[in-house]
C-alpha cells in the first residue's frame, strides 16, 4: 500500500519535472526555428544590391532597401534624441530627488506607459503630429518611437542609479559638493553602464517597431526627403513586402528581416556581454 503510494509519488514527480523540461525545451526550440528559418532564408536573399540600391517600382525585379535602412537609422536617432533626455532626467528625478510617494507615482506611470500597445501610441502620434501638420512625416514617427522608448530608459536609468551605494552620495556631499554636481559628477558616472545598456535595449526595441510607423512614417518611394516628409523604414518595408504577391519582394522581405534580426539580437548580445563584464 505505502509502496504503491510511494511509487505513484515518484512517477508523478518524474512526469511533472519532465513536462517542465519539455516546456523549457519547446521555448528554446521555438526560438531556434524562427531564428534559423529567418537567417537561412534571409542570407539566401541577401545581396549587395539589397543594401546599396533603392526600391524599384512595383512589378520590376531588383532594387533594395537602401532608403529604408537609412530611414530606420534616422528614425532611431530621432526617437533617441527625443526620448533619452526625458527618460534619463525622469530616472534621475525618481532616484535622487523625488519623495517616496511621488517616486512611486512616476514609476507607476512609466510602467503603465510601457504597457500601452505600440499601435495606440501610433494613433496618438497621428493625432498630435500628423493631423495638425496635414502630412505624414519622419518627425511624427520619431515622436511615436520616443514615447515607446521613454519609459524603458527612465526605468533602467532609475534602477541603475539606485544601485549606486548611498555611501557615494554621502561622500560627495561631505566634500561640500552641491547636489546637482554630485549627481552629474559622481552618481551618474557610477551608473553609466546600466544607463547605457538601458538605452541600447530601448534602441533595439524601437528599431524593430512597425505598428506605430504605418500611419506616421507611412513609407516613401522617393527616399529620405527630410524630417517633415514621409519616410521609409526597414520594418515597415518588410511588412509591405511580406504581403506582396511578388516573389522578388518577398525575398527582399526576408533579406530585410535578416538585417533587422542581426541588428536587434546583436544589440541584445552586446548588452548581455557588457552587463556580465560589469559584475566581474
Amino acid at each position: 500500500m505505502s509502496e504503491r503510494v510511494y511509487l505513484r509519488r515518484k512517477w508523478l514527480n518524474r512526469i511533472m519535472l519532465g513536462l517542465c523540461g519539455i516546456a523549457a525545451a519547446s521555448a528554446i526550440i521555438m526560438l531556434a526555428l524562427i531564428l534559423g528559418y529567418t537567417l537561412a532564408r534571409g542570407i539566401g536573399a541577401m545581396n549587395i544590391n539589397f543594401l546599396i540600391s533603392a526600391a524599384k517600382p512595383v512589378g520590376e525585379v531588383g532594387g533594395g532597401m537602401r532608403n529604408e535602412i537609412f530611414g530606420t537609422f534616422i528614425l532611431v536617432i530621432l526617437g533617441s534624441v527625443l526620448a533619452i533626455p526625458v527618460g534619463l532626467m525622469a530616472g534621475i528625478f525618481v532616484s535622487e530627488f523625488a519623495n517616496p510617494k511621488v517616486a512611486t507615482a512616476v514609476r507607476f506611470a512609466a510602467d503603465i506607459l510601457a504597457g500601452i500597445p505600440s499601435i495606440v501610441v501610433g494613433v496618438f502620434a497621428y493625432a498630435i503630429v500628423v493631423q495638425p501638420m496635414h502630412s505624414y512625416s519622419a518627425i511624427s514617427a520619431g515622436v511615436a518611437l520616443a514615447i515607446i522608448m521613454v519609459p524603458i530608459v527612465a526605468r533602467t536609468a532609475e534602477e541603475s542609479l539606485r544601485l549606486v551605494p548611498n555611501s557615494m552620495r554621502e561622500a560627495a556631499l561631505a566634500l561640500g559638493i552641491t547636489r546637482w554636481r554630485a549627481v552629474v559628477g559622481v552618481i551618474i558616472p557610477g551608473a553609466l553602464t546600466g544607463i547605457m545598456t538601458g538605452i541600447m535595449l530601448a534602441v533595439a526595441r524601437i528599431a524593430g517597431e512597425t505598428a506605430p510607423l504605418i500611419f506616421t512614417a507611412l513609407g516613401s518611394q522617393f527616399g529620405v526627403q527630410g524630417l517633415l516628409k514621409p519616410i521609409g523604414a526597414l520594418p515597415l518595408q518588410i511588412y509591405h513586402y511580406a504581403l506582396s504577391p511578388y516573389r522578388d519582394q518577398q525575398q527582399q522581405a526576408w533579406a530585410g528581416a535578416f538585417l533587422l534580426i542581426l541588428l536587434v539580437l546583436g544589440i541584445s548580445i552586446l548588452v548581455r556581454w557588457i552587463s556580465n563584464r560589469k559584475h566581474i
Binding site: M168, L173, A174, R181, G185, P189
Partner: protein, 283 residues
C-alpha cells in the same frame, strides 16, 4: 594619585566647575549647545552640550546605538541628508550657528570634512580624480597644475603619496582597504577643511592599516581639528587628546555622560557609568 582622585570624585560639583573653567581658557572651535537630533519621530541624541577644541583630537566613545555617529553627522549637517533627519539646538563655528538659515550646508561641509566608516572612493574615478573630486566639482575653472599640486600635497599629508604616485591613473577601487581609507582622508583634506570628522574610520581595517591611520591622525592634528567616533577604546586612548563618552538613556536616546581629557576619562572617570564601561562591565 588614584585615591586622591577617587576622593575628589565623591564630590562631583566642584570638579565639574573646574573642568568648565578649564574649557573656557582653551580656545574651542566648535561649540555645541543643547543639541538634540531625530530620525523622523525617533529621538537619537538629546541635549548635548560641549566645546570641541581646536587642533586637537577629540574621540567619541560609547556602546553601539548610543548616537555617536548621529552626533558627529550633526556637526557638518550630514544628519539632515538622512531621511527624516532633523535637529534642535545650535552648533557654533566661529560664534556662528551652523544651523542658522543663511548658512549654506554645502559651503559648511567644505570647512568641516568627513570620512566614513566604509572606505568610499568613487569607483569610476582614478586615484588622482578621487583626490581632486572635491576641487573639480566645487569650482568651475581650475588649472590642471593647481589641481596636481593640491592632489600631491593631500596625498603626502595622508601618507599615501609614496604608495600611489606611480599609479595615479588607476581606479581608486584597486587599492587595499587601508589605502582606500587614506585616499578618502586625502580627498577630504584636498578641499582644505578646518575640521575633519572621522566616523569609525578603522572599523573595516586590519590592525596594520589601523596603525597607519592612527599615526596619520596624530600628524594631521598639527593642522586640523579632528573628531573621531570609535568603538575601540584602546584606539581612543592611544590617539585622542579629549574624549567624550556617550550612552543610551532609558528612553533610547543617546546622551553625553562625560567629557574630559582622555587621560582623565580613562584613568579617573567621574561618572559611575563611564567607569563601568571603561572597565568593561558592560557594553
Amino acid at each position: 594619585m588614584m585615591t586622591i582622585n577617587n576622593l575628589v570624585n565623591e564630590n562631583i560639583l566642584p570638579k565639574l566647575e573646574t573642568t568648565h573653567n578649564q574649557h573656557k581658557d582653551q580656545k574651542g572651535i566648535l561649540e555645541v549647545q543643547d543639541l538634540s537630533a531625530w530620525y523622523g519621530n525617533a529621538l537619537a541624541i538629546k541635549h548635548v552640550s560641549l566645546t570641541i577644541k581646536s587642533r586637537a583630537i577629540t574621540s567619541i566613545i560609547g556602546p553601539s546605538g548610543c548616537g555617536k555617529s548621529t552626533f558627529i553627522r550633526c556637526l557638518n549637517r550630514m544628519h539632515e541628508v538622512s531621511h527624516g533627519g532633523h535637529v534642535e539646538g545650535c552648533v557654533l563655528l566661529d560664534d556662528k550657528d551652523i544651523y542658522a538659515r543663511d548658512v549654506d550646508p554645502v559651503v559648511l561641509r567644505r570647512r568641516i570634512g568627513m570620512v566614513f566608516q566604509k572606505p568610499a572612493p568613487f569607483p569610476t574615478m582614478s586615484i588622482f580624480d578621487n583626490v581632486g573630486a572635491g576641487l573639480k566639482l566645487t569650482r568651475f575653472f581650475s588649472k590642471r597644475w593647481e589641481i596636481e599640486e593640491i592632489v600631491e600635497k593631500s596625498l603626502r599629508r595622508a601618507a599615501l603619496w609614496d604608495e600611489v604616485k606611480d599609479k595615479l591613473n588607476q581606479s581608486g577601487a584597486s587599492l587595499s582597504g587601508g589605502q582606500q581609507q587614506r585616499l578618502c582622508i586625502a580627498r577630504a583634506i584636498a578641499v582644505e577643511p578646518e575640521i575633519i570628522l572621522l566616523d569609525e574610520p578603522c572599523s573595516a581595517l586590519d590592525p596594520a592599516s589601523t596603525l597607519k591611520i592612527e599615526d596619520l591622525m596624530r600628524n594631521l592634528a598639527e593642522q586640523y581639528t579632528i573628531v573621531i567616533v570609535t568603538h575601540n577604546m584602546q584606539q581612543a586612548a592611544r590617539v585622542s587628546d579629549m574624549a567624550v563618552f556617550f550612552m543610551m538613556a532609558p528612553d533610547k536616546a543617546g546622551e553625553l555622560v562625560e567629557y574630559g581629557s582622555t587621560s582623565q576619562i580613562f584613568t579617573n572617570p567621574r561618572e559611575k557609568r563611564t567607569e563601568d564601561y571603561i572597565t568593561g562591565r558592560f557594553g
